[in-house]
């Protein structure tokens, strides 16, 4: 069953320019798409720029009862600009015997792949770059390219800490990828399609979550998948923490054990790219959670894009909370939690969801 998707951002741009999306040539569409992609990329980078050098510090500081950055600009907001310039103007030191092409490519792979997955995410207010039929499979496929970047960085650095960090990153990703994807599949059972869609298209993942679940007085509760199956939601949140490498699953970096893991030998702009890629990845995790479990950009009164931003920042706050409050698990515990706990739970969740949906339908 092919569902006509909601109007993509590219089509909107084409219409703004007075062109017909169905007849425009591929080269023209590509040119206009770059504008649209630039808008999506800027939105993601804006969030990341605010989160990385500023919000993260402020949040961690309030957890540990400190003040943190407060010198430049109101409430220290100017730190974002100052830190960007400072990090970009650092000397780039490349370790001896580094595996050159891989060493240079790893930061690009990490940052680029995280950004690429945002292509199909509906961000509300009509901002959705593209809406292919296999949207969800695409998101999971692209999001897992990052572990390739981490392994490349770990191996190419020719540093023992980096190497261990890279291998740990792979161990973690393969242990939590399956529970993550299987829990995502349980949402597909409910929606009956892989297309992410938008609030206005009922036969898509986001659209299916807009129906009313039940009403309390005059307030109607939408059937967000997080409400229908809270168990899947909790499982996905936990697997997502492992996927983005935040406590209790931050063993690929583990500053007290292996210095900085895969990024030990990276300095200057390469370090910025790693840091950026990591934060884009956290927001990507938030975006996937918002899309699958929290009704995408839906919400009362405020426009969609605002709700979407609130939701991804909510997930970001949660990862930072976990980072400050939860101790790290050991690597052997991590493998065991992943393979003996989460995998079994996610298989159970899949069958449970199938029974629930089957009985209701």
């Amino acid at each position: 069953m092919i569902v006509p998707g909601a109007m993509s951002l590219t089509d909107r741009f084409l219409e703004l320019l007075g062109l017909d999306p169905s007849t425009a040539g591929p080269l023209l569409v590509f040119g206009v798409s770059i504008l649209a992609a630039g808008l999506v990329g800027s939105f993601v980078l804006l969030n990341t720029a605010f989160a990385g050098p500023y919000a993260k510090r402020k949040i961690t500081a309030s957890f540990t009862d400190r003040i943190s950055v407060n010198r430049i600009g109101p409430a220290g907001i100017g730190t974002i600009v100052v830190d960007s310039v400072r990090l970009l103007s650092k000397e780039l030191i490349i370790p001896e015997d580094a595996d050159r092409p891989a060493y240079d490519l790893a930061p690009i792979v990490l940052a680029g792949s995280a950004l690429l997955a945002f292509a199909v995410i509906p961000m509300g207010s009509g901002i959705q770059l593209a809406d292919p039929e296999i949207g969800l499979a695409y998101v999971f496929a692209i999001a897992s390219i990052a572990s390739l970047g981490l392994l490349m960085a770990g191996y190419a650095s020719n540093n023992k800490y980096s190497f261990l960090g890279g291998l740990r990153a792979v161990a973690q990703n393969i242990a939590y990828e399956i529970p993550l994807v299987l829990t995502g599949a349980s949402v597909v059972i409910f929606a009956g399609t892989l297309q992410l869609g938008n609030v206005t298209t009922p036969d898509t993942i986001v659209g299916a979550q807009q129906a009313t679940l039940f009403t309390i007085g005059s307030i109607s509760i939408p059937s967000w998948f997080g409400f229908i199956n809270p168990f899947a939601f909790a499982l996905f949140m936990a697997a997502n923490l492992a996927e983005v490498g935040r406590n209790p699953f931050d063993i690929p970096e583990a500053p007290t054990e292996i210095v900085a893991g895969y990024q030990t030998e990276y300095s200057s702009v390469y370090f910025v790219l790693f840091y950026l890629g990591e934060f884009i990845h956290i927001f990507l995790g938030g975006a996937i959670i918002a899309t699958l479990f929290l009704g995408g950009p839906a919400g009362p009164v405020l426009p969609g894009i605002v709700w979407f931003t609130i939701k991804i920042w909510g997930v970001f706050l949660l990862t930072q909370w976990a980072r400050s409050a939860v101790p790290r698990v050991r690597i052997d515990q991590l493998i065991q939690i992943g393979w003996k706990g989460m995998l079994v739970l996610s298989l159970a969740n899949l069958l449970l969801t199938a029974v629930i949906v089957g009985v209701i339908a």
Binding site: S8, A171, I178, L351, V357
Partner: protein, 134 residues
């Protein structure tokens, strides 16, 4: 409606251009003071010893094999999840659900077997074991 993959290709281009742009800005800003000792690999300030690319037990070799099995399994589960709702309407709950229960059951048996044989257990290296018993 334009082809969505063109737009995704455009984002791929933007996703590569942003890092490259940052790299070129940095290349203009940063100093370059080459010196041999700077380039030594970092080992907490000590003189680096030995080679990094040695053979050692990565501990999760069996787990990686298991991952391949389960990864292919998820690929096979996805088409079922997409048609499941329609299948229940067409043929009823039992015929739509039970084959997948059997499929996942076989995998669960496989996982239980690997679990029992210690494939997902963290193995001590012979040397660590020896140090522990001494």
């Amino acid at each position: 409606m334009s082809n969505p993959w063109i737009a995704i290709g455009a984002l791929a281009l933007v996703g590569v251009l942003i890092p490259l742009g940052m790299m070129s800005v940095s290349a203009l800003l940063r100093p370059s003071v080459p010196e041999d000792s700077k380039r030594a690999s970092y080992e907490s300030g000590e003189v680096p010893t030995g080679n990094t690319r040695i053979r050692f037990n990565i501990q999760y070799y069996m787990v990686a094999l298991l991952f391949v099995v389960f990864d292919i399994e998820t690929v096979l589960i996805f088409p079922w999840t997409v048609i499941y709702g329609d299948a229940v309407d067409a043929v009823g709950l039992g015929p739509a659900l039970l084959p997948m229960v059997a499929f996942i059951g076989i995998l669960a048996v496989g996982l239980a077997w690997a679990w029992r044989n210690g494939a997902v257990r963290w193995i001590r290296s012979p040397r660590a074991q020896q140090e522990l018993t001494e």
